[in-house]
Amino acid sequence: MSNAVQLLAEIRQSSERRPFEVLKLAEPLLGSGGGLGTGADAWLAYEQVFVAAIDDGEMELARAVLGRLHKRFGAGSQRVKRLAGMFNEAAGHAAEAKRMYGEMLAADETNVLASKRLIAMLKAQGQLGEATAQLVAYLDTHGNDFEAWLELSALYLRQQLYPQAAFCVEEAILQQPANHYFHLCYAEINYTMGALDVALKEFLRVVELSTDNVRGFYGVRLTADRILEAKRRPKKEQPAWADAAPQPATLERLSELATERLLSVYGAAGAAPKRAAEAWLQQS
């Protein structure tokens, strides 16, 4: 029993979203009449189980847990109020949820969680324009929230606003320059926009930071080949960045390196993946 409590705590600490496992662990504990551990940690576990129940659509369980939290912390608790708002969201009472989040913001306008829920609701309802506007307003105040910048970038991408999305990822890179995932996003956005020189360098940065990153090496290979192709065209038809791009010899070496590393990675995975990778690399 204490084992399950411990596992729940571990999942909570890694902030992974694994609702099925959480429910599987918590249900015997709740069913046996006992609580989810003792002390202050138990209430964290209740919150976790509540969110998992909502994720899984188990509204009855969610209602019971929320009732227990409500009884313990009362109506004044902003944290419980947010959970109640989430319950309303999940139950389809969007207007009610919105009203609750609005109340939370009225009590404390710096309540990050409430602002984020409001934006997430707009996004879920498909009002991308309104969600973008609110997220921009949020970031104007909380400029150091890199997760929000990435979210804004994703919103822009859904609206095909690539330069704006690139700007947001730049902000994330400024905050965590050694995170290869941010560089990967930035490289792919630049590739999509046709800024191949920047894309190539960023893909290279990805494989520099993260050894044998497959997505990064695919990018290197694709981008290097396309730059080579562009460089072979007559001077007048070359894009503006072609002069700033690396020499053809370097590009060829990079492309070769990417191919070699990709084959080596897939080779380690077995014969069939290796053949598939070879076939793909040959035809492109």
Binding site: E109, T141, E170, I173, Q175, P177, V207, P246
Partner: protein, 274 residues
């Protein structure tokens, strides 16, 4: 019977009533007052001040400038130039200032900020709560038990401890092992910290010595000087303006080739190496 002060054991006996009616009561009352104080502090501490979104915005804007100055090497030159232009202009015009209108008035009216005043009052209240009960207890001991010997330490001590252990009694020759009531009070004042940590948790408000330390430093440092963000913004603008941008990825091709063993390391090729 040897003469006093000649290092021989002094034959002196304390009435058990002194132990029961002086020694223990002082300790017990000090513990109780500490606990009471802790509860009172919890009671009197008002709600934490309501945060203001404009404060957050102001601080985060400065942080953004710092990050740009620090990590500018990791974004392309165009992206850096755009941000620098924007932030420099915003800093100069006080775009992110909490009170845009007051940007030229400087630090003179910082005292007018009600929040700063409130924080100061809060600190004063806490300090008063620390000092008043301690003064009362000390007065009580002085009044009723002045000159009492309350306990004998089971180990010998040097003459230097006389001041510490026998304050309040003027006997040049008495053995240092005898402790006076006022000294017992001081020993408790400094020694009960561990007891409070045990019964009230580590972060308690029962301990009186911390407030005294705070009193001493108050005159010198002043209660957390509020920051003049306009000046900070202008300073940040200057340091951004002179930031030299060099893209970290300028030589990344060579670095990657070196990292994967396709090229020998060339001096000057990889600025940061791999």
């Amino acid at each position: 019977m040897g003469g006093f002060g000649e290092g021989t054991d002094q034959e002196m006996f304390l009435d058990p009533a002194i132990r029961n009616w002086v020694l223990f009561p002082i300790t017990v009352i000090m513990v109780l007052v500490g606990v009471f104080r802790h509860q009172l502090t919890i009671l009197m501490a008002g709600d934490p001040p309501k945060p203001d979104a404009r404060d957050v915005r102001q601080a985060k804007a400065l942080l953004r400038g710092q990050l740009l100055a620090q990590n500018n090497a990791y974004i392309p030159a165009a992206a850096f130039g755009e941000r620098r232009r924007y932030l420099c202009r915003a800093y100069e015009e006080g775009e992110y200032l909490k009170n845009k209108a007051s940007k030229d008035q400087g630090a003179a009216n910082l005292m007018a900020d009600p929040k700063a005043m409130e924080a100061m009052m809060d600190g004063m209240k806490k300090q008063m709560m620390g000092i008043v009960p301690q003064t009362l207890i000390m007065g009580w001991i002085q009044f009723f038990f002045s000159g009492f010997i309350v306990i004998k330490l089971p180990f010998p001590l040097g003459l230097r401890f006389k001041q510490m252990l026998q304050s309040g009694i003027m006997t040049p020759n008495m053995d240092v092992r005898w402790v006076s009531s006022l000294s017992w009070y001081f020993l408790n004042l400094f020694g009960l910290r561990g007891v409070f940590a045990l019964i009230l948790g580590g972060d308690n408000a029962a301990d009186g010595t911390r407030d005294m330390a705070a009193m001493g430093s108050m005159g010198a440092a002043g209660a957390a000087q509020p920051q003049d963000y306009h000046k900070l913004f202008l300073g940040m603008k200057d340091s951004l303006a002179i930031t030299y941008h060099e893209w970290d990825l300028a030589t990344v091709e060579q670095r990657v080739l070196v990292k994967y063993g396709k090229q020998a390391r060339v001096f000057g090729a990889g600025r940061r190496g791999t």
